[in-house]
């Protein structure tokens, strides 16, 4: 577990480097790590994507089944997002029911997708008040090297975009791809003292004072935000972070869209 604590030396090194605009892995402060996307990794799922964001490795599988809508949204399908931080991925993850970290992560990823109206959930209604498609987004974190918010979000978006609804096996006509209408991209910035670093690695994340995740759509509009950790941001910093998220989002979006 000792490796879990970033040594004072490493902290000083990261900060000193960052204050000159550099990072340990050679990136600039507002530059995310390399994103690679492998679609359709899992054949037992209706859709899937394995995303590597640097060394962070996340697998998302989408399962669809037919069930009842919620009483207050009788005309829309149901979206359910869960994250398992399995102990395989990090010595700090433990088996058991999801802890607050995993719950927040799942809810933030879910909001990015839900609030951007990425999938037109009304087209997943089969019979109003009675039968709708239920969409399970199951996020399996395989290797944890920082910034799960973005890695999980990318994998979920790419998996949804590759999902084909198994209508035929349910006697509901032909299989069809999910009606994807928007492309949310989550960009997370960490604050270390006065410095802002996009897409923090594990070491950076661990020494961060505050974190802000901003999800923007293909128009650059804001669809979800989440501030985390016990530090604070100035309002000016918030605005800079949003502008960076818009710009970085534009770069990453095509990687999630292409197949």
């Amino acid at each position: 577990m000792s490796e879990e604590i970033v040594s004072e030396l490493m902290r000083a090194h990261i900060y000193r480097l960052a204050s000159t605009g550099q990072r340990v892995d050679g990136r600039g402060l507002d530059q995310p790590r390399k994103v690679s996307v492998d679609r359709a990794f899992v054949k037992t799922a209706e859709g899937s994507a394995r995303v590597k964001l640097g060394n962070t490795d996340v697998l998302v599988g989408i399962k669809m089944s037919v069930g009842e809508p919620y009483p207050d949204t009788p005309n829309t399908g149901v979206l359910s997002t869960s994250v398992e931080l399995i102990p395989m991925a990090s010595p700090t993850f433990e088996a058991g029911p999801p802890r607050p970290d995993a719950i927040e992560l799942a809810r933030v990823v879910d909001r990015g997708i839900r609030e951007s109206k990425m999938v037109n959930m009304e087209r997943l209604c089969i019979t109003p008040k009675e039968k709708v498609w239920i969409l399970f987004i199951d996020i399996h974190v395989l290797d944890y090297d920082g910034n799960l918010f973005d890695a999980c979000s990318y994998a979920a978006v790419a998996a949804l975009a590759s999902t084909v609804a198994p209508a035929k096996s349910q006697g509901l006509g032909d299989d069809f791809p999910l009606p994807v209408e928007h492309w949310p991209v989550s960009v997370t910035t960490a604050k270390i003292k006065e410095l802002l670093l996009v897409d923090p690695s594990l070491d950076e994340e661990r020494m961060a004072d505050a974190r802000l995740t901003v999800t923007t759509d293909e128009n650059g509009d804001i669809r979800a935000m989440q501030k985390g950790l016990s530090g604070s941001f100035t309002y000016e910093e918030v605005k800079r972070i949003i502008e960076t998220a818009q710009r970085v989002g534009r770069d990453i979006r095509p990687l999630l869209q292409s197949s």
């Binding site: 009483p71 207050d72 009788p74 607050p100 719950i103 927040e104 799942a106 809810r107 909001r111 839900r114 609030e115 951007s116 008040k129 802000l212 650059g220 509009d221 804001i222 669809r223 979800a224 935000m225 989440q226 501030k227 985390g228 950790l229 016990s230 530090g231 604070s232 941001f233 100035t234 309002y235 918030v238 605005k239 949003i242 502008e243 818009q246």
Partner: protein, 275 residues
């Protein structure tokens, strides 16, 4: 019920006079009433009515953190538990934490972590309990605002109070402090909390759809409102510790002042105004 909602969806949330359904203008807060020191057992407490919200906050600590393996040898833990009473919402909520409550508890804990002088109380925990007794949208902001007063009432040393308010968008218009209908049928909601003296943002969440311009308008409204709420928080503390103790909340008479034994915070920490 679905039919009713369907109708409301068609319904305009802002009238032709520019007023919202409850008569407020776009930058108007709902009525807010704060009372400090309303519980006897807790080390500090506060009660807030904010529109249709009724929220209690209590603080215990700094006290020994337990279980022991959670203790931080360098500082106090700041732990919040946000909870909704089963009867606080229209459809009864099952007792116990759901995923939403867990997330809100986490972001409120983090918001207070940046203002409490944690290093003064190693190995302890400062436990904040927020109970939503009646909910009408904006409960996390109301809870945070009350908890802030409860922390001061408990004499927990802080850099400043934290003040909180949400803004959002309804019918395409950026508005302050959405109520339940506005939240349900509106386009976006953006709760935030700041440290009024510095303007530091300690809580920020958003969902919905805001352009960057709209976001800035919303933040402008919220920051301005938070400063007004800050005054109400300080008023509540002044009333609590004044000579003429007003018995405002009849059912919950404040107990005897304890300011002598537990100074809320020192003059230096809390700014020139004191409280």
């Amino acid at each position: 019920m679905e039919d009713i909602e369907h109708i409301e969806k068609e319904m305009k949330l802002i009238g032709s006079d520019g007023r919202r359904l409850d008569g407020r203008s776009f930058d108007e807060l709902r009525p807010i009433r704060i009372e400090a020191g309303v519980l006897r057992r807790a080390d500090g407490s506060a009660y807030i009515e904010w529109g249709g919200n009724k929220v209690l906050a209590a603080v215990y600590g700094p006290r020994e953190a337990h279980p022991r393996h959670l203790q931080d040898p360098a500082r106090a833990l700041v732990q919040c538990r946000y909870n909704m009473a089963p009867f606080s919402v229209s459809d009864r909520k099952r007792p116990g934490p759901d995923r939403r409550s867990v997330e809100i508890s986490k972001v409120i804990s983090e918001a207070f972590s940046s203002v409490v002088f944690k290093e003064q109380f190693p190995r302890t925990s400062v436990d904040i309990f927020i109970e939503v007794l009646q909910a009408d949208a904006g409960t996390r902001c109301a809870g945070l605002t009350a908890a802030s007063v409860a922390l001061a009432d408990a004499g927990v040393p802080m850099r400043d109070l934290v003040a909180s308010c949400a803004s959002g968008k309804i019918d395409g218009v950026v508005c302050l402090d959405l109520n339940k209908d506005e939240d349900n049928f509106g386009d976006a909601d953006c709760p935030m909390a700041i440290v009024p003296r510095t303007g530091d943002v300690v809580l920020l969440q958003m969902d919905g759809h805001l352009t960057y311009d709209e976001f800035q308008k919303a933040m402008g409204l919220s920051i301005d409102a938070a400063r007004r709420i800050y005054e109400m928080q300080r008023d509540a503390l002044r009333r609590r510790y004044s000579v003429t103790l007003e018995d405002i909340l009849k059912e919950s008479p404040p107990t005897a002042p304890v300011a002598e034994e537990r100074p809320v915070t020192s003059e230096e920490d809390f700014g020139p105004e004191g409280i």
